[in-house]
Symmetry: none
Subunit: 142 residues, 2 copies
């Protein structure tokens, strides 16, 4: 897939967050713009479209000298999904009104019942795949 500038900046920031100790980074908008040779508002755009609460992030910022933008990931990272993780993710999506009660119930039913024949590690991989696909889905679907 060809990556747009916005995609690249998004990825860059997500790697930074992954590497951070507390899933939180502070950047300077203009500095990042400089790094990617773009206008500062491009950074604002990326944050506005890819680091929303829906996506599991919240942001704070301060203007003026020594300003910053802080991004914190509050939802679970992609790795190591387990059943209860996915449950809370479903709950979360339901609260955000990205899934209906019924949809959440359907998913929950599947999660509990559909994969019992697999060993624990396989199930974990399955859950991980579902989680990723689910987060893609809610992004495009509302």
């Amino acid at each position: 897939m060809k990556k747009s500038l916005a995609d690249k900046i998004e990825q860059y920031l997500k790697v930074l967050i992954d590497r951070s100790d507390d899933k939180r980074i502070e950047i300077q908008r203009s500095e990042l713009a400089e790094t990617f040779s773009c206008v500062p508002s491009q950074v604002t755009y990326v944050i506005a479209t890819r680091f929303t609460e829906r996506d599991g992030y919240y942001t704070e910022s301060r203007r003026g000298g020594k300003g910053y933008v802080r991004i914190t990931r509050f939802s679970m990272p992609q790795e190591g999904a387990n059943l209860s993780d996915l449950f809370s993710y479903c709950d979360y999506l339901t609260e955000m009104e990205l899934l209906t009660e019924r949809e959440s119930k359907l998913l929950t039913h599947l999660l509990v019942n559909a994969f019992n024949q697999f060993p624990a590690e396989t199930r974990e991989e399955i859950f991980e795949g579902i989680k990723k696909a689910l987060s893609e889905y809610v992004k495009t679907e509302s």
Copy 2:
């Protein structure tokens, strides 16, 4: 019988999919149109008529800068039975009004995207499990 442009584009895409690792390709509509010296909507036409769900393909796209069209083949000779089975089962449940359109779409997305890291046999088992759990679900839910 003479091969139409649409036929050529179809063949071209199918070769690309065959060669791909995961039976999934991403193209740019306008670029492909350029390659075949035709209007972009020709590509849309080919995809709409020859890469349907019935044919065993699933497509997604994104507009705007660096947009793309992604085509996934889910129906490979050996494993196709199950996934397309599940698809038609979803369709069936939707027609019976046991699932909503949106629920069916959500499931379809998960089916196509969540399990690509697994080998075909595992996927088949997964689909089987899902099908069972799904049929239980709709029983309890009505």
